[in-house]
Symmetry: C2
Subunit: 152 residues, 2 copies
């Protein structure tokens, strides 16, 4: 939903290609990680990934290792939020550029897309930062508040 890759097959083909280009194998546990991440349009914590991954034979240490390796290969992106857990989502080159709604109650993040006008406005800020000698690669924009469940 809202992903650039409509079918899972297409996604796995792309990921497989990208891993092979990095001399990495598309093993069963990496496949499981990608599958779990693709199932939700929001970043997941390691415990969340494990719940669904364990039944596909995914061990905790492999999950951590896979996520780091997949991030290095440009398949996964680390997402840092307000609580103790690092979160992970598929890379924007696979799902499209988006931002997040972060619930300060339960910690949950949901994907959130913004208007093109807003994205264009960011460009002016990039110029300003560049003038300070900062080389801009990306940006992060989140709205913080209460999700539907936590708003009571």
């Amino acid at each position: 939903m809202g992903h650039q890759h409509a079918t899972g097959e297409e996604l796995h083909t792309t990921v497989g290609r990208r891993l092979r280009a990095a001399q990495m194998r598309y093993s069963r546990s990496r496949h499981a990680v990608v599958e779990v991440l693709a199932a939700d349009a929001r970043p997941l914590t390691l415990p969340e990934i494990l719940i669904q991954g364990v039944e596909r034979g995914l061990a905790q240490s492999s999950a951590y290792r896979n996520l780091n390796e997949l991030a290095e290969a440009g398949v996964v992106r680390r997402v840092t939020a307000g609580d103790d857990h690092t979160r992970f989502e598929l890379h924007e080159s696979l799902t499209g550029h988006h931002h997040h709604l972060e619930c300060t109650g339960c910690g949950r993040l949901d994907d959130f897309e913004v208007s093109d006008e807003f994205e264009a406005g960011i460009e002016a800020l990039v110029v300003s930062a560049t003038q300070r000698g900062f080389v801009v690669d990306a940006h992060r924009f989140d709205l913080l508040g209460r999700c539907v469940a936590c708003a009571q």
Copy 2:
């Protein structure tokens, strides 16, 4: 620089008032934490705070405790970034609203102010999120890239 409180005395008076209102004491170690945070216009990690704080008799466990308590009292704000360390800065009610430049090389964050037009553009997004049932309290906007030192 860019802070609402020009003098340190004014800052400590405000902080002291805010703590007393919360039935908390402005102890020596809380004073040290505030002083260290006020000295830099960027969020600091706990190790960074300790380096300067130790010589003022600041213990690690007290630093963590103070930072959490000061955050609860609205004097300090937790800032989450890309690495393993939580960062802390003075609350925006003391320093003014701002955003951050985050270096993906060394992890450093620096304060960054944006135009009023950009801030106004965020309001439209808040409306959009509200329509999804999300109650917005705040926002976070960071530019990610390489700081002057890491850009080579």
